[in-house]
């Protein structure tokens, strides 16, 4: 399915980072933010955000509650938990390590 164009596992990391940076957001807000940052370089089927949100919530890395959106609609707001922050730090570090390793590998290629 098209959502797989997001590298596997990175959607979770992007969601956590977004919530960490911007505070509580609803699903639409998260999806828009990720698209903004990607600047069109990512073909995200926005719907795929919801299974990811559920997954993160099951792991208690994020929590959610009902609130009111900017246009006064009932919306579900997600926020990052303490456990989520820890996970984000660990995942970000591991991501950075992986990226720099891959980069070194690619740069050393003659």
């Amino acid at each position: 399915m098209a959502a797989d164009e997001v590298p596997y596992g990175t959607l979770d990391l992007m969601v956590l980072k977004t919530l960490d940076g911007l505070g509580p957001l609803h699903g639409y807000g998260i999806a828009r933010r990720i698209e903004q940052v990607a600047q069109g370089s990512l073909a995200l089927n926005q719907g795929t955000i919801y299974p990811a949100l559920l997954r993160l919530e099951q792991k208690r890395w994020i929590a959610s509650e009902w609130g009111t959106s900017e246009n006064n609609r009932r919306a579900r707001f997600y926020r990052i938990t303490t456990a989520g922050r820890k996970q984000l730090a660990a995942a970000a570090e591991s991501w950075a390590r992986t990226v720099s390793m891959v980069n070194r590998l690619l740069e050393n290629e003659p």
């Binding site: 089927n45 926005q46 719907g47 919801y50 299974p51 559920l54 099951q58 959106s69 009932r74 919306a75």
Partner: protein, 883 residues
């Protein structure tokens, strides 16, 4: 999966509705916000809405993945699939019923045959610790299952250290006491260790011990529970009761439970020391059966080898009495149950799996045909986000459901089949440990076989159905689906084999029915209920000489003839249809090597008269035959034809060839040709020689009493008359002649029924297979039929096309089957071996084969009815519109 996620998933069913609502709300809001955004960019409301949907991706796919993430998707979706499969199968009832029945037949036959195999070979004997009990016997070139002589047993027992050995010998005896008529029992003389070796404990009293098994010990007996209940009222006072066994006194000291005794046929046990017939000095009198229990500290293989070595050394030490005698040691289970790996059992079970395989193949055809019809449904589900795996699983689940229902019904078939099979075997034939119970292991086999069948029958159809091209199928509305060409060719080949098999089996049944039902004139005489029959067996110690046995016979005839309503009394060595011994015979002018094997019956002079039959030529026996100085014999027409092909047998000379090479031939004169009587159930009449009974009166004889009354009314008086002659000789197996003959025929009848049932199943499966293949053909060519109808083909054209296709398979199958029948007959000589004298009766009989072809044609017509209806039901307009 972390425990926390698992918990969330496990709890999901509680919150399912709420979570579904929550996702709905979130998605709606998301879409609204997206649409507003697009509208703000200047799109019309409708355009904005569809752009929002595109950006969001498939709502249903998201919902599905969301659900997968939420609960336990495997369990949940399987439950959902099962509900769906159940619904779709009830909608397509014809398909479901046919498939279930086909599978039930295959699984049922398989399970029935497994139950029988299991009972006969795989169960253990009901002996405690049976795996450490061995059976010792001897073999030579002529006989692979001889016993041991007393000397051999005694010396082996003393020389062997690793195994405790015990011996027994079983034979008929008469049990009587002061106030009861004698009763025929099976008595085993046993050594003092037998009950210990087999760990058989008494219900009351005690068993026979080493102290009892000494010369001069007080005579004792142990009886079975059923004798205790039937003859002694189940009262404890039986202990210490004095009885007479074959005329010798004995005291009953114990009772052992039915279904625990050994050997199974015994119901009275006495010490071997009290046996009057055991020859303790003849090393070649091998009448003892020997069992042993290997000591706990010994290895089985070493202990068995020790017994074998000791036995073979004894044979080597006594070359005169033991030339060529080898000792054989096997476990008791192997001796009495046989091995499942025995070729006969392997063939038996192979048939069971062949039937299952054919049934599974037929079910697969039916499912493929159905898959072709519902290609559209599958394509729609695929386009709605169902993964290939999910579709495959769904289809496999459907076949599993069918196999499960088929297995349940198959269990019913198996239970009924085993019960019918069991009823075909008269009581007392099988040892008590063969009771064909369907236990946990048989059920486990059933479940396993059902599961394998589901996979066998379901995999290919499921793969084929979910491999179809989604786009193509949707575009043409499911009307144009492609069937696999290779698969079709294979299924056609399988069908031809099924049909050919049906032809061969039908030809075989027709042949054996013709041969066995061909009547001989005596058949009517043998079904009568006014001839009473019974057996007597004279104890050797009371009737040691031919003269004493002759005196007994004369007394029997005299006493019985006096009874009211009795017209005639005869004795013989065996009843009609019952097995008799064989004898080698040659005619004058033939060499000793030309001797032929024939059946030999010794009869009293009244025998044929009692049966109401007269001589075909010459005369029958009189009281002058069989006395010293007379050399008369009778032959039947079959023997006359063999020995005197072109002359009158009456007055001809024939010689009986003694078993010893060096002994002189015994020449006798044929005085008449006897009427034809079978001595083998439902078989062609064979050559028989009749000897006068007086010549050598046998210890075991049959008595026939012809009366004006039904046999049952004469029976009590006849028993009483025999008791007056000798209380130690009971009349047993008392029955009307017709009844006795029917009983003797059980084996042949049972194998006939089994053959007939298997044939019907084979033909039924072939018919189902034909239906399935034609159905599949029509399902795969629906578009073609639509076009044909649109172009003006009439209903009868289409019908002819479908029926023609069926006829093609039947023609191939019939030709292959007829060829196979002819080849089989030629290769194995089925017709020749049956020695049939019926004109034109052979396996590959043209008229029978033509009739079978006719039956198959009718089957083909029937099997193509539903497919023709399906072909005609294609809507030409719908087909054309889709192109």
């Amino acid at each position: 999966m972390s425990p926390r996620v698992l918990l969330s998933r496990l709890l999901d069913p509680l919150f399912r509705a709420r979570r579904d609502r929550r996702l709905n709300d979130e998605v709606r809001l998301h879409l609204d916000l997206l649409a507003e955004e697009f509208e703000a960019k200047g799109l019309s409301p409708e355009e904005a809405r569809s752009a929002a949907r595109r950006a969001f991706g498939g709502v249903d796919q998201v919902a599905m993945r969301y659900r997968d993430q939420r609960g336990l998707p495997l369990v949940e979706s399987i439950a959902q699939d099962a509900r769906f499969a159940g619904r779709s199968l009830t909608r397509d009832r014809g398909f479901a019923i046919t498939t279930v029945l086909v599978l039930a037949l295959g699984i049922g036959v398989n399970n029935m045959m497994f139950t029988i195999l299991y009972t006969h070979t795989l169960r253990s004997l009901p002996v405690a610790g049976a795996d450490r009990v061995v059976f010792v016997s001897t073999r030579d070139e002529r006989n692979t299952d001889r016993g041991l002589s007393w000397l051999e047993f005694d010396e082996t027992r003393q020389a062997v250290g690793g195994t405790a050995l015990a011996a027994f010998a079983t034979g008929p005896a008469a049990l009587a006491d002061a106030d009861r008529a004698p009763e025929r029992v099976e008595r085993s003389h046993v050594t003092g260790q037998l009950f210990d070796v087999l760990r058989i404990a008494p219900i009351i009293g005690r068993v026979i011990t080493v102290e009892d098994d000494r010369p001069g010990a007080p005579p004792v007996a142990v009886v079975s529970e059923s004798i205790w209940k039937a003859s002694f009222g189940g009262d404890r006072s039986v202990l210490g009761h004095d009885v007479s066994i074959d005329g010798s006194p004995a005291t009953i000291v114990g009772v052992i439970a039915d279904r625990s005794g050994f050997p199974a046929s015994s119901n009275v046990w006495q010490p071997l020391a009290s046996s009057k017939s055991l020859d303790r000095d003849d090393r070649a009198a091998r009448v003892l059966r020997v069992v042993g229990r290997v000591r706990e500290d010994q290895r089985m293989d070493e202990a068995m080898a020790e017994v074998r070595t000791v036995g073979d050394r004894l044979s080597a030490d006594h070359p005169d009495a033991s030339r060529g005698i080898h000792t054989r040691v096997v476990t008791i289970n192997e001796r009495f149950l046989g091995r499942a790996s025995d070729p006969a059992w392997a063939a038996f079970m192979a048939v069971g799996f062949l039937v299952l395989l054919i049934a599974a193949a037929n079910a697969a055809h039916l499912m493929i045909a159905r898959g072709l019809q519902r290609a559209r449904e599958v394509a729609i589900r695929a386009s709605l986000g169902a993964s290939r795996w999910r579709l495959f699983r769904q289809l496999l689940l459907e076949s599993s459901l069918l196999a499960a229902v088929g297995g349940a019904i198959g269990l019913g078939f198996a239970v009924a089949g085993v019960r019918l099979f069991r009823q075909g075997i008269p009581a007392g034939i099988l040892p008590y440990w063969m009771d064909y119970a369907i236990d946990a292991r048989v059920l486990a086999a059933l479940v396993g076989v059902s599961a394998i069948t589901a996979v066998l029958a379901g995999t290919v159809p499921a793969l084929q159905a979910c491999r179809a091209d989604v786009n193509d199928t949707l575009r043409n509305g499911g009307a144009r689906v492609t069937d696999s060409r290779v698969g079709r060719r294979w299924s056609g080949a399988l069908l031809v084999v099924e049909l050919a098999l049906g032809v061969v089996m039908l030809a075989n049944v027709a042949f054996s029915m013709r041969v066995s039902s061909a009547s001989v004139p005596s058949d009517a005489a043998l079904t009568t209920d006014t001839v009473l029959t019974g057996l007597v067996s004279l104890p050797a110690d009371r009737y040691p000489s031919p003269q004493s046995r002759l005196a007994f016979q004369d007394a029997v005839k005299e006493q019985l003839a006096r009874l009211p309503g009795v017209r005639g009394v005869a004795m013989a060595s065996a009843l009609p249809v019952f097995p008799v011994s064989e004898r080698k015979i040659l005619a004058e002018g033939q060499e000793r090597g030309d001797a032929i094997s024939v059946r030999q019956v010794a009869i009293g002079e009244e025998y044929f008269d009692v049966l109401g039959l007269g001589a075909e030529r010459g005369r029958l026996f009189t009281s002058e035959d069989g006395v010293p100085g007379s050399d008369s014999v009778l032959v039947n027409a079959q023997l006359a034809a063999r020995l005197f092909p072109d002359g009158n047998p009456v007055g001809g000379r024939i010689a009986l060839v003694p078993p010893q090479e060096t002994a002189a031939l015994e020449w006798r004169t044929v005085v008449g040709v006897a009427p034809i009587i079978r001595q083998r159930p439902q078989a062609e009449p064979e050559p028989i020689v009749y000897m006068p009974l007086r010549l050598s009166p046998p210890a075991a004889a049959a008595i026939l009493v012809a009366g004006d009354l039904p046999a049952a009314q004469i029976a009590p008086a006849a028993r009483e008359a025999l008791r007056r002659i000798d209380p130690a000789v009971p009349l047993y197996d008392v029955a009307a002649l017709g009844e006795a003959v029917a009983r003797a025929e059980w084996n042949a009848r049972l194998s006939h029924s089994l053959l007939l049932a298997l044939t019907l199943i084979a033909v039924g499966l072939a018919a189902a297979g034909l239906f399935a293949v034609i159905n599949r053909m029509v399902a795969g060519r629906r578009r073609e039929f639509g076009v044909r109808l649109a172009l003006g083909a009439s209903a009868s054209d289409v019908a002819r096309l479908v029926v023609g296709n069926a006829a093609k398979y039947v023609a191939y199958g019939a030709v292959a089957g007829i060829a196979a029948a002819i080849a089989w007959d030629a290769a194995f000589g089925v017709s020749a071996r049956s020695q049939t004298t019926l004109p034109g009766a052979r396996l590959a009989d043209p008229i029978v084969l033509l009739a079978i072809a006719g039956v198959l044609a009718a089957v083909a017509l029937l099997a193509s009815l539903a497919p023709v209806r399906m072909a005609l039901g294609v809507d030409p307009l719908a087909v054309l519109r889709q192109d």
